[in-house]
């Protein structure tokens, strides 16, 4: 029977405040003992190192986001010009009235307002702030976003009040043989 006493633990470095049970220095210890230290200075080092690691992971996430924008931009370019699409009969919208339609995809809701006999203004209905639907307010010559009280000028679509900073996406419209057609869209800065 072995009755020899265990070796007396000793410090091997001034950095080593506590001594592992087997007395060996920390670089000979299993990895988990280094990753979960009990000494306050070592714990501070590991905590900052792991926080840096987390930030580098966040940095990677930002790179993924940037690359996603590149891919989306490429896909948008490949789509090319939107099609020409009939909205309604030009006379179906009374002066001062409006009509909601989809263009170019079914989920892209747009709105056309007839301000005068031959004056039609069409925009994507999504507010450029947080994508709420804008409502025409002809009495004040504007589109109003009820979510955050944003306003856009009726004739140009530029933001005039509230949080939006970008103008509404303009839909180009034409009258052809008495019918109103959407012929393109204009994304503006």
């Amino acid at each position: 029977m072995n009755t020899a006493p265990p070796p007396t633990p000793t410090r091997t470095s001034p950095d080593q405040l506590s001594i592992p049970p087997d007395g060996r220095p920390y670089h000979d210890q299993p990895q988990w003992r280094n990753d979960f230290p009990i000494d306050w200075p070592q714990d501070e080092f590991v905590a900052r190192r792991d926080f840096t690691k987390f930030l580098v992971l966040t940095s990677f996430a930002f790179v993924v986001g940037q690359l996603w924008i590149v891919v989306e931009n490429f896909a948008r370019k490949r789509k090319g010009l939107p099609p020409v699409k009939r909205i309604a009969s030009a006379e179906a919208i009374p002066v001062g009235g409006s009509l909601v339609f989809s263009y170019p995809e079914p989920h892209d809701t747009c709105i056309v307002v007839r301000a005068g006999a031959q004056q039609y203004f069409a925009y994507n209905q999504k507010c450029t702030h947080l994508s709420c639907a804008v409502i025409p307010d002809l009495a004040h010559g504007r589109f109003h976003c009820p979510c955050h009280n944003g306003s856009f000028e009726l004739r140009s679509g530029i933001p005039i009040a509230g949080p939006p900073r970008r103008p509404l996406e303009r839909i180009l419209v034409e009258i052809r043989e008495g019918d109103l057609y959407a012929t393109g869209r204009e994304v503006r800065a």
């Binding site: 001034p14 950095d15 200075p41 070592q42 501070e44 080092f45 900052r48 190192r49 926080f51 840096t52 690691k53 930030l55 580098v56 966040t58 940095s59 990677f60 930002f62 790179v63 986001g65 940037q66 690359l67 924008i69 590149v70 989306e72 931009n73 370019k77 450029t128 970008r166 994304v187 503006r188 800065a189």
Partner: protein, 74 residues
């Protein structure tokens, strides 16, 4: 022969690296929001340069993190 760094010295270096990494991550956040804004406004010119800048920031961050791990093993 190089003397091994003390724990205190290593912690100071980690703090320095952490500060640089924080600044670069904030820069990347700004780049991402600015690029998204430009993309939604139909401006395509900035998209590729911003992506390249973000990748460079990430490469620097990764290099600094690798340095921390190498330093720890010394």
């Amino acid at each position: 022969m190089k003397r091994a760094m003390s724990r205190k010295q290593k912690t100071t270096i980690v703090y320095g690296i952490l500060s640089i990494v924080v600044m670069m991550v904030v820069l990347q956040l700004w780049l991402l929001t600015a690029t998204m804004n430009a993309f939604l406004a139909g401006q395509e010119r900035v998209i590729i340069p911003a992506a390249v800048a973000s990748i460079i920031c990430f490469a620097c961050n990764g290099g600094l993190l690798t340095y921390i791990y190498r330093m720890e093993r010394r």
